[in-house]
Amino acid sequence: MDFLHNWAEYLPEMLSGLKLSMLIAAVSIVVGYPIGLGLSLMTASKNLVARAIGLAVVEIGRGAPALVILYLIYYGLPKFGISFESLTAAYIGLTWNAAAYASEMFRAGLQSVPRGQIEASQALGLHPWPIFYRVRLPQGLRSAVPGLMGLAIQMFQGTSLAYGIAVPELMKTSYSIGSRTFNYLEVFILAGLVYACISMPATWITVYFERRIHRRYA
C-alpha cells in the first residue's frame, strides 16, 4: 500500500492544479455558451455577412482540433507580435471551442421547437422578439440542456490540453510531480482518478436529466 502514501503526498499539489482546470472549464462554459447562442443565431440569419462570419467561426472551432487552436493562439500569434499569457490563450482557445460546439446544440434545440408554436404566437399577435425569447428560446433551450451538460463535461476534460501550452492545470502539475519523483505511473493514475471523480458523477447527473426531459415530452 505504498502508493497510497505517495498519493497522499501528491494530492495537495494536484488539487491546486485541478482548481485551475475547473476555472478554465468554468470560464470557457460561462463565456462560450452565450457566444454559442449568438453564433447559432448568426448562422441562421438572413444577413449574408453575419451568416458567413458565424459559419466560419463555428466550422473552424469545430473542425480544427482544440490543440491546434491553442497552439495557433499561443505559439502562432506571437510571431505577429500578438502574444498572450498561457492562461489567457487557454481561455480564448477553449472558449472558442465551447462556443462552436454549443452553437450547434442551440441550433438543433431551436429547430426542434414545432412550427405550430411560432404560428400560434403569430396568430396571437405577438411581436417577433417576444416570440423568440418567450416562446422559441425557452422550449429550444430545454431540449438543448442535456447536450450542453455533456459538452460541459467534455470541456472539463478538454482543459487537459492546456498542458500543451504550459498552463499549470492538473495535467501539467501531474507531469511536474512525475518528473520530480520519477513515479510517472502512480502520478498519472492518480491524475486519471481525479478527472474521473469529477466527470463520472457529472455524466450520471446528465443521464438523469436526459431521462427526465424525455419523460416530460413523452
Binding site: 495557433l72 505577429f80 478538454g158 505511473l185
Partner: protein, 213 residues
C-alpha cells in the same frame, strides 16, 4: 521546405493513428455494448463503470499512462503503439455507448419473432438485431470517427510524428511570421480530411434508407 510539405509529412501518421484506433474501438465496442445490455446485473454494473471510467479520463492521461507511466515498469511502447492503444481504448468505450443506444432502438418484436422462428442466439444477433442497429448508429459512428481524427492530434504530446507534431517542429525552426502558417495548414488539413468521412457517411446512410423503404 515549405510549411505545407512539412505538415503533409504528418498526414500518414494521423491516418494510421485514427484508423488503427477506430478498428480497435469498433471491434472492442461490440462485446462492451453487449455487456452493457446483459441480463445479469453485475455484468451490466461493471461494464457501465468501466465505460464511464474510460470516458471520464481525458485521452491525454491515457496516453501518458501508456507511454511514460508504463515505461517505468519496464513496459516500453513506441509512441505510435501507445497512441493507437490509448485512442483505441477510449474509442471502444465511446462506441460501446453508441452501439448500446442503437441496439436499444431495435423493437423487441424482432427478437421475439427470431425466437419464435427457432433462430439461435448468435444468428439472431448477427442476422437480425445487429444489421438493424447498424443502420441506426452509422451516422453517429461516422461523427465519432471525425472526432477521433481530431483527437489523434493529442498523440503529438507523446511525440508521435503526426500533423500537429510536424506543424510544431516546423514552427520551432521558423521563428519569423512564417511560423504561424503550419498551424493554419494543420487546422485546414483536419477539416479537409473529415470531408470524405462526412461524404461517405451520408452516402451510406442514404443507401441504407433506400434498402428499408
Amino acid at each position: 521546405m515549405d510549411p505545407v510539405t512539412a505538415v503533409l509529412r504528418g498526414v500518414p501518421m494521423t491516418l494510421y493513428l485514427t484508423f488503427g484506433a477506430f478498428v480497435i474501438g469498433a471491434i472492442g465496442g461490440v462485446p462492451l455494448a453487449l455487456a452493457l445490455r446483459s441480463g445479469t446485473w453485475p455484468v451490466r454494473a461493471i461494464s457501465r463503470l468501466v465505460v464511464d471510467f474510460v470516458r471520464g479520463v481525458p485521452i491525454i492521461v491515457w496516453l501518458f499512462v501508456l507511454k511514460f507511466g508504463l515505461a517505468g515498469e519496464g513496459i516500453r511502447f513506441t509512441p505510435l503503439t501507445a497512441g493507437v492503444i490509448g485512442l483505441g481504448l477510449v474509442s471502444a468505450a465511446y462506441l460501446a455507448e453508441i452501439y448500446r443506444g442503437g441496439l436499444q432502438t431495435v423493437p423487441i418484436g424482432q427478437l421475439e419473432a427470431a425466437n419464435a422462428l427457432g433462430l439461435s442466439r448468435s444468428v439472431t444477433f448477427r442476422r437480425v438485431i445487429a444489421p438493424q442497429a447498424f443502420r441506426i448508429v452509422s451516422p453517429s459512428v461516422a461523427t465519432y470517427l471525425m472526432g477521433l481524427l481530431k483527437d489523434s492530434s493529442i498523440a503529438s504530446t507523446i511525440i508521435v510524428g503526426e500533423i500537429v507534431f510536424q506543424a510544431q517542429s516546423y514552427a520551432r525552426q521558423h521563428p519569423t511570421a512564417v511560423g504561424i502558417i503550419p498551424y493554419v495548414v494543420a487546422g485546414l488539413f483536419y477539416i479537409v480530411l473529415s470531408i470524405p468521412v462526412a461524404y461517405f457517411s451520408r452516402k451510406l446512410d442514404r443507401r441504407m434508407r433506400e434498402e428499408i423503404y
